[in-house]
Point group: C2
Chain length 483, copies 2
């Protein structure tokens, strides 16, 4: 079939004989990009301090919205108000979508409702929903009232879906046609629709969705496949059946997992009658995927959410509660030590050595905990392999327990010239590392079963266990053996 | 222009009057999906134990490659060999791309080189490179020698790029045409090329790249824009200039950051002469983005990489080194306590209370550390705001230090009926929480400057600091005040 009238061989794809391998130069480039951004922030700061508003505006005029967002984030809370004031008259709503949650709320409060509404009206509906959903009822009303009626209706519809659901994430712009259409008819339809002012054809789309008369999804045809097909081909003959329908109420983390697991690029969102109401593309879920992993990291570290841009007072308050819980844990450990005051008074070496057992247990338990929490989040740890994982962690705890019992035992023996003391610390080490493995795996599993986020609560329980068991085993054994 | 011959209004988009809001039902559905997967794994296990190989093969025959991968991961190391043996004759290479790194290596070793080569030949080149790159030289050669010459050349070219670079991540399948081509000519070209057997037209593509005669990227036209344009439109007139060229040697994490920052869907990869050699789409970087966040989480937890699927011995070994480092840290803390044996002998209450100060410092420091490590990874913490962040963390530490000084002081006073002891623990608490804030922010920053991964090394240094400062401040002050 190479007789097609205008067929020409594809332009040759050159390939360098020697691949470009110059990591230092590459690194310098990255470094340079970073420095340029830092320098820009410094310049903006200086100009703000000198009240040179026009120069700030000129400097930022040609930047990508993502870069402007970064400048707003980095100038610091003091100068942020002035900067937003300068940009407010003709605020680029795209900037809002790139801002960190905390900073975005601050900026929204700094903007006049009418400026904000004008900005939001420029956004795609899913981005507009994303921006508006965090506002309180009053500001939300105010902005919605200032939107053009059509946009407003779409945004209000988006807001009716539960928070963090596929419905909030999806884009309403998609192209859906019946399966008897041919490629030619589709192309003519798209070309005609595009030339109509104010058509509701989305700016970007990646699949043509094929729907039945009840508007239920039958399948999808990727654009690249449409373009390869001749005009006479029926779309129904080249569609891929839709396997991965996303219900609009599905939790966004579940959506992200589905995209990751099956390597999806886009998936149709349907209502409870299986009718097509939107589409989610992989770039929409990238943020969800990263936030999910980041959330676990921050929660395990005892911080609720990223607070880099928060004020001192807010940060202090948000971290206080976690520390307060830990104070209780520490006091429980102290109560255990208090039971053995008499023993410590006789053998002070016990006070010197006791933190070693507790701390090793804490660290070993945290290793297990981290793996378990992450595996629960990614659904790699399920009922099917829970028992095996717990069993394995106990075995690992036993193995490392024996190894560190020998090490710590020898050290204690040499330090205090007392083989019995060495034996006691060794035995306590084995007990504590086994319990660290057991509880490090069990605690997240149990919390998960109880529908409590294991990333938030696991660490407290674990520290309590490893401290109590560590002090109890070491001081208890010592009381029995040494006194 | 609504006179286009076949134009028809788009099918009506129904929208439910009442959005489907039934989270419990939704949750039940997820639960059901999870249980179904668990049940499948259980069934496969039973069948394997009963040597019912044909039934296993039948059960897995119609599953998505991602689901098969999950079964292979979840049946456990003992049964994995048998399962891979059953699947090996006609192994679906797609499954390899979905497997966890650890399990994938195991499966590759279980497959015969010729079965593996047959499987790899089916893959897209970037996936093939991904699978082959982890093998040792010998197995790599063996597979490459078994590949068809053309695939082999592309795979070998891919392997010449540095590990974790854009060159390894990119797909070689793209469509590039000169800018004087019209939409009509492009469509004819694609249709003709598609009807040629063995054409090198990629299966999926999202942009048409426009190149100059030297094959340098001039810009790109998204497919959705091509489809909206009339046949006579010149591609040069509707292209978007290429802003985000990715050099083939760019580190994959840098690529991921760029995609995230600018919300990219796809970006062209170029060689050092700016010639187009590949394309990276957002679905290629999803894994990189998640792995990056996950890596930080696991490293902070003291585990090098996900080890859920590793054998007990490997896991024990990989965790040993981190625990050994922590043993040294714990001993340093014990040495500090040892300096105050005399004081502890006189006032045993010191031994009871001392872990409180150290543990609160450790937890407060970890909060700061977690935020700082993550912000460094996402480039939100840079030279431009480093000083401000450190200053803020010191202030937060001071504020929480004062609060917990009062709490712990009152508790110690009440417990041991000694106001002086309360004062000592309070003062030590303030000192330790301030140093926790200072070092929690400084340590990752300094390590980052020294090009050491802060996620790996920060925690050890921090624990040492908060333990030493905690014990030193509390016991030292006590020696001065109480004795």
């Amino acid at each position: 079939m190479t007789e097609a009238p205008e067929f020409r061989p594809p332009p040759e794809r050159p390939f360098p004989d020697r691949p470009p391998q110059d990591p230092p130069a590459e690194e310098r480039e990255e470094e340079a990009a970073r420095d340029a951004q830092d320098e820009l922030v410094d310049t903006v700061r200086e100009l703000l301090d000198e009240d040179q508003h026009d120069r700030v505006r000129a400097l930022l005029a040609d930047l990508h919205a993502a870069d402007i967002a970064q400048v707003i984030e980095h100038v610091g809370p003091g100068r942020r108000e002035a900067l937003v004031g300068i940009l407010s008259a003709d605020f680029d709503a795209e900037v809002l979508t790139y801002l960190d949650q905390e900073v975005r709320e601050e900026v929204i409060e700094l903007l006049e409702p009418k400026d904000l509404a004008a900005a939001v009206a420029e956004l795609e509906t899913d981005d507009a929903v994303d921006v508006i959903q965090d506002l309180d009822e009053e500001s939300r009303r105010e902005i919605l009232d200032n939107l053009p009626p059509e946009t407003r209706q779409l945004v209000e519809e988006g807001l009716t879906f539960p928070e963090y659901s596929a419905g909030r994430l999806m884009s309403r712009g998609f192209v859906s046609v019946p399966q008897f259409w041919t490629v030619g008819r589709l192309l003519d339809y798209l070309r005609a629709a595009a030339s109509v002012e104010d058509s509701d054809l989305p700016e970007d789309f990646y699949d043509i969705f094929i729907v039945d008369p009840a508007h239920r999804v039958v399948g999808a045809v990727p654009l690249s496949r449409v373009m390869r097909a001749k005009r006479t081909v029926r779309l129904g003959d080249i569609l891929t059946e839709a396997h991965h329908l996303i219900p609009a109420t599905m939790d966004q983390e579940e959506v992200a997992r589905k995209f990751r697991k099956y390597g999806l690029v886009s998936a149709p969102v349907v209502d409870e009658a299986q009718r097509l109401i939107g589409v989610i593309t992989v770039d929409d879920v990238v943020d969800v995927i990263e936030e999910e992993a980041e959330e676990d990291l921050l929660r395990l570290g005892g911080v609720g959410e990223g607070d880099l841009y928060r004020a001192v007072l807010d940060t202090t308050r948000s971290r206080f509660s976690w520390l307060a819980v830990n104070l209780v844990t520490a006091i429980v450990a102290s109560l255990v030590i208090g039971m053995f005051e008499a023993a410590i008074e006789k053998v002070v070496a016990l006070a010197v050595l006791m933190p070693i057992v507790a701390s090793m247990g804490g660290n070993a338990g945290t290793q297990t905990l981290t793996v378990a929490v992450r595996a629960l989040a990614t659904r790699e740890l399920t009922d099917a392999n829970a028992l095996r994982v717990v069993g394995k962690e106990v075995l690992v705890g036993t193995a490392n327990g024996v190894l560190f019992a020998i090490l710590a035992g020898l050290i204690a023996w040499g330090w205090f010239r007392d083989p019995l003391l060495g034996g006691v610390i060794g035995a306590a080490m084995i007990v504590n590392l086994i319990s660290a493995g057991l509880f490090g795996a069990m605690i997240p599993l149990v919390l998960h079963k109880l529908k409590i986020d294991p990333a938030v609560a696991s660490a407290v329980f674990l520290t309590t266990v490893t401290d109590v068991v560590g002090f109890l085993a070491f001081l208890g054994l010592a009381s029995l053996v040494l006194l």
